[in-house]
Amino acid sequence: MTHAPTSSTAPPHPAPPRRTALAEGAERLRHAATTEPGRLRVIGAVLALLVVAFGTVTALQTTHRATAADDVLHRSQPLSSDAADIYRSLADANTMATSGYLAGLQETTATRERYESDIRTAAAKLVTAAANSAPGSPSAATITRLNELLPRYKGLVEAARANNRQGFPVGGAYLRAANDTMQNEMLPAAEDLYQKENQRLSADYADATPYPWAAIALGVVALAALAWAQRRTYLRTNRVLNHGLVAATAATTVVLLWLVIGHSVARAGLNGSYTHGVRSLSVLHDARIASLKARSNENLTLVSRGAETRTLKDGTVMDAYDWAYDQELDRLAKTLAHADRLADDTAGRTPVRVANESMKVWKSRHELARRANDSGDYQKARDRVIGTTAEDESTGECFDNVDTSLASALTHETNEFKQAARAGLAAMTGLPAGSAVLAVLGAAGAVLGIGRRLSEYR
């Protein structure tokens, strides 16, 4: 498709186009650069611009990093640990529900209360998590799902309890339904939420720690330009110092040093909070989950009594819950060993070692319970698992020890994290505002210094 020329009235000699403002400015600059006052004006403008740009970029980049660092300390890490708590509370509630069922009439008030408090914790932390999630995000959907499932789960557990009280085995069927809801729907959702919160935490770390290269580069360029301008002045006037330019150089140097040192300190703090805090926290969290799952499976071995089996690769058939218990205890041993390697002081290492010792006792006691169960002595096996007196030598005691030790290790590492992250954040305090103010002062210095030289031409 082509257009035929529509107009033949176009002037054969078009008028010269109007010069653009840019071209006009460039022309004026070129003209000005031919005289010394003109050159000085240009130099002054460029110096002021460089210093202001340096200050602005520094303020922007440090604000961004300080915000991210603040998020690590006050938002994403607490949310990630909240998500871990949601997972732990749910798993713990289920463990308590199965323990209570196994104990029947001997269910202790402590078990019941711990179940109730787990449910409350999970509900409260879900509210916090919901308030901090963007509407329509995948996290929000997961939280909604958990909020729907929690009352359903609790309803099933209460139905199990009410029927148990009347001696109806349908209570056991309700407990199995509750356990299925927890294992197949709620815990995977909680795990998903934990992963998402951890991603957010990693993203905040990634935003807070990289060096502000743009600001540093601009700072170096500004300093170089200031040095060049002063050398030029010295060569032309033989005067060593131009007060304005010296002030500008000083201000720029202070901002650059503050930026580099402050950021390095902050970065060290944040990296420290990650290696000494977050990494340990995540391993300890895994260990706690493994111990909870192992305990829950240990209970269910006795609740289900071989109702579910698993065929191993070599063809042997094993109780499904007993098999799962073995897996989780192995994972507990591995994560505890890892936590021990990560712990960097005695205060952090002691509870991990205590947990490790308790785990070993648990393992040997479980072996006795398993042997009792395998030889048909259900009563003895049950006492060895849920027994409450010291002579029962129950595995429940060991589980409680592992759980308590891990809880204190978690508290310690959380404090380590907070200390390091706070120190890191403190190193950035005032940097955005300070750099802005100093840059304005520096720019003013540069302008005044050049102005002083200019006035010599009047």
Binding site: V170, G171, A307, G376
Partner: protein, 320 residues
């Protein structure tokens, strides 16, 4: 009839062994196995499957010897069937109890001299046969109906209880029984149960409306009661004995109509464990005669099944 049936079964069992011989003499051997398979299909009827156990005896044998040297009897039971095999939460020891459990204790007492030398393993309904065949349990005493299909995979004792399939639904429901009132309703049954076999067969042959939804199957019949109480299904089909035990746990549900089949429970054991089967049949004979059966029935079942019902007397055994 029973003799033909037994003969047919023996042939099926011997199939792997007869075939190599058959290759030497193809014509008669081949004919014979073909005949045996056909005879089996023709003659075993579920209504007579319970009359085919071995005659009672207390003679020793390899299976009994193995159990005695191990020191305890391993029994697959249910822990969810109220008054049959269940864990009473109000029983502080956490031991299982019920009619099936009493019988298992009695068998342990007769074999090992101590009724407590028994290890109970709770097994899901669809694991009953695999558990026996893999040797995980010596026997299954778990409201298990004797059928021709199962006789091919496990050996059964003489019948020890008479029951039949029945419909369970909320009292207020418009369902009247195993009939057209189930149209468009969701019916729950246990995975691997005779109830499900009946439901799917009757849906195909038109005895049940085609719109009946029988897709809900659960590991244990009691899970059906949970579904019914949560309103996820409209009715449950299970043995009347178990339906009665479900109704006993919830005053808002009731048995609807009458039993639409006649079935017998038996103790299931491994194929070929003849000494054990005979020993159990001996125990069942004694159990009936010395009033142990009746005592257990009165203790566990008379409240839900009644003192005068057809289930209240032990079925008489006839052996092959």
């Amino acid at each position: 009839m029973a003799a033909v049936c037994a003969l047919a079964l023996a042939f099926v069992l011997l199939l792997p062994r007869t075939q190599p011989y058959a290759t030497g003499d193809p014509a008669p051997g081949g004919q014979r196995t073909a005949y045996a398979t056909r005879a089996k299909a023709d003659t075993c009827k579920d209504s007579e499957a319970h009359d085919r156990s071995l005659s009672p005896s207390s003679a020793d044998g390899p299976t009994l010897g193995a159990i005695r040297s191990r020191g305890y009897l391993s029994v697959g039971v249910d822990q969810n069937s109220y008054r049959w095999g269940y864990r009473n939460p109000n029983n502080s020891t956490g031991e299982l109890e019920g009619f099936d459990i009493d019988l298992a204790h009695r068998i342990a007492k007769d074999i090992l001299g101590d009724e407590n030398k028994v290890q109970f393993r709770a097994i899901p309904t669809n694991e009953r046969i695999p558990a026996i065949r893999s040797g995980r349990v010596d026997m299954v005493v778990r409201t298990m109906t004797i059928t021709c299909d199962r006789l091919r995979q496990v050996a059964f004792s003489a019948p020890y209880f008479l029951t039949g399939q029945q419909v369970l639904a909320p009292k207020t429901s418009e369902i009247t029984g195993y009939d057209a009132s189930l149209a468009g309703r969701k019916v729950c049954s246990g995975t691997g149960t005779t109830a499900y076999d009946h439901l799917s067969a009757d849906k195909k042959n038109g005895r049940l409306p085609a719109s009946t939804d029988i897709a809900t199957t659960v590991p244990n019949q009691l899970d059906c009661l949970v579904r019914l109480q949560l309103g996820e299904v409209d009715a449950v089909v299970t043995d009347s004995a178990l339906a009665a035990s479900q109704a006993a746990q919830d005053p808002a549900v009731a048995l609807k109509g009458t039993s639409f089949t006649r079935e017998f429970y038996g103790v299931a054991m491994k194929l070929g464990a003849d000494d054990l089967v005979r020993r159990v049949n001996r125990t069942l004979e004694d159990y009936r005669k010395d009033g142990g059966w009746k005592e257990s029935y009165d203790k566990w079942l008379s409240a839900t099944l009644g003192r005068e019902s057809s289930a209240a007397t032990p079925p008489t055994a006839s052996y092959r």
